[in-house]
């Protein structure tokens, strides 16, 4: 199928951001897990994990700003807008397709096009991760780097403790997202097609 239609979905800036972000998040997850389970493995010592986590965190902060501004100044941001119409039905339709339809020969309910880069379910998760979860880990991460910024006590709990819990819980959510994200990427023209797309920029329909 050499003549398949293809769309230039991922401009260079987005691919660079995605690459940095992917690498950074993976490092943060590995060092994060090793810190919170207090592993002092010979592979990543505790202090190395801490330093690596801090530095990568700052890199991710910068790369997030790059992504955020990029989505404001380019047209890419509009792919993340969620409309009130079909707020619940659309993602449900997509979920049914993944759970049932795709095994029964149905066509995808929301075929991708120049106007639609993400299916509704995908869009919800991307918005959840990029506009809620990542900002939370960044803000709590900064707070943990500068603990004097954190309020001492809230409802009898240490503010530092609550911040740490929120940071690791949302970090865990992002890790779960990453697993699903990678798996879903294998649902494409061929299992590796989407992975090639995010490198080349061209998405095959």
């Amino acid at each position: 199928m050499g003549t398949t239609e293809k769309i230039y979905f991922y401009p260079v800036w987005l691919r660079i951001w995605h690459g940095i972000n992917a690498l950074g998040i993976i490092i943060l997850i590995i060092t994060g897990i090793s810190m919170q389970s207090s592993l002092d493995s010979p592979l990543i010592g505790f202090s190395l994990a801490v330093n690596l986590h801090n530095i990568t965190g700052i890199v991710i902060l910068l790369s997030y700003l790059f992504f955020f501004i990029g989505n404001i100044v380019t047209k890419n941001g509009k792919y993340y807008l969620i409309k009130a119409k079909g707020f619940f039905q659309n993602p449900i339709k997509q979920s049914v397709y993944y759970a049932w339809g795709m095994f029964h020969g149905s066509k995808p309910p929301f075929p991708l096009s120049q106007k639609r880069k993400f299916n509704p379910l995908q869009k919800y998760f991307y918005v959840l991760v990029m506009y809620i979860a990542v900002p939370i880990v960044i803000i709590t991460g900064i707070a943990l780097l500068f603990p004097e910024l954190i309020i001492e006590e809230a409802y009898g709990f240490s503010g530092l403790f609550l911040t740490a819990i929120l940071h690791s819980a949302v970090g865990f959510f992002i890790s779960i997202f990453l697993i699903i994200h990678i798996y879903m990427s294998s649902i494409g023209k061929s299992p590796f097609d989407n992975f090639k797309s995010i490198i080349s920029g061209w998405h095959h329909l």
Binding site: S38, D40, V50, M102, F103, P147, S158, I165, A169, Y183
Partner: protein, 255 residues
């Protein structure tokens, strides 16, 4: 006159021995002033002469403390010369760890006992005969050093913790000090014993709120301190993993 020889009378009247006259412990010649300098050499009673084997002091466990001290590095090097008063001034001692409702105050108070020598070049050299290693330098490896020093007592890492004493008195040599973050920053934190005890006392004194009970097992950083979240995260992780595997199998075999 040497300022070290003059007692802080205000501190003394706040101390645990305030009801005693000087001559209750010292020779009657102390009643006159100025007294003979040789009097400093008089034989004095030890703390255990009063506190040892006495039912009314049983809860302080003086005898057990003495046994612990005898195992400590201080006793091994200096023997009998390193008595209780080297750390606990009999003139001004206050039972802060037992009575304070503020952890920071307890930490500060207890650490001052160590620092009175270990952070005082002259005094340290006088006792040990060698230079005092700089505390900030020897603890260079410790992340967030200042924070640790303010919130953790020296003895938490430099003693062998035993549950039955409020403060362990078996001070270990530097080679045996805790150096692994994990020993405190895990579910089985070695600090748990002393923190639990502190919280328990707080509860009984009715100064602490309900949160002391709630935050009982969650004192140190990390979700693994919260067993519920730990369980939840494992459940979610395996649910997602099985979902993916099932979906993948369907993709392979169904189509």
């Amino acid at each position: 006159m040497n300022p070290y020889f003059i007692l802080d009378t205000v501190a003394m009247t706040n101390g645990v021995h305030k009801q005693f006259d000087c001559t209750d412990c010292h020779s009657s010649e102390y009643a006159t002033y100025p007294h003979n300098g040789n009097l400093k050499l008089e034989p004095l009673s030890t703390c255990l002469d009063c506190h040892g084997g006495d039912e009314s002091f049983a809860k302080y466990k003086f005898d057990q403390i003495q046994e612990e001290v005898n195992k400590s590095v201080h006793y091994k090097v200096y023997g009998e010369n390193f008595g209780c008063s080297k750390c606990h001034s009999q003139h001004t001692y206050v039972t802060t760890a037992r009575n304070s409702d503020n952890v920071l105050e307890i930490v500060d108070n207890d650490n001052k006992m160590c620092l009175s020598c270990h952070n005082d070049m002259k005094k340290y050299k006088l006792v040990s005969g060698h230079e005092n290693p700089k505390l900030v330098e020897v603890h260079d490896w410790l992340p967030n050093q200042e924070l640790h020093f303010r919130h953790v007592r020296c003895v938490e890492c430099h003693t062998e913790v035993i549950d039955s004493l409020m403060v362990s008195h078996n001070i270990l040599g530097k080679d045996h000090a805790v150096k692994k973050c994990v020993e405190c920053h895990t579910a089985n934190s070695r600090l748990k014993a002393s923190l639990y005890k502190y919280e328990n006392l707080q509860k009984r004194s009715e100064k602490g709120g309900i949160h002391i009970v709630l935050s009982n097992s969650s004192y140190m950083i990390g979700t693994h301190q919260s067993p519920l979240l730990k369980l939840l995260s494992f459940l979610i992780f395996f649910a997602v993993l099985s979902g993916i595997i099932i979906h993948l199998l369907f993709r392979i075999f169904k189509k």
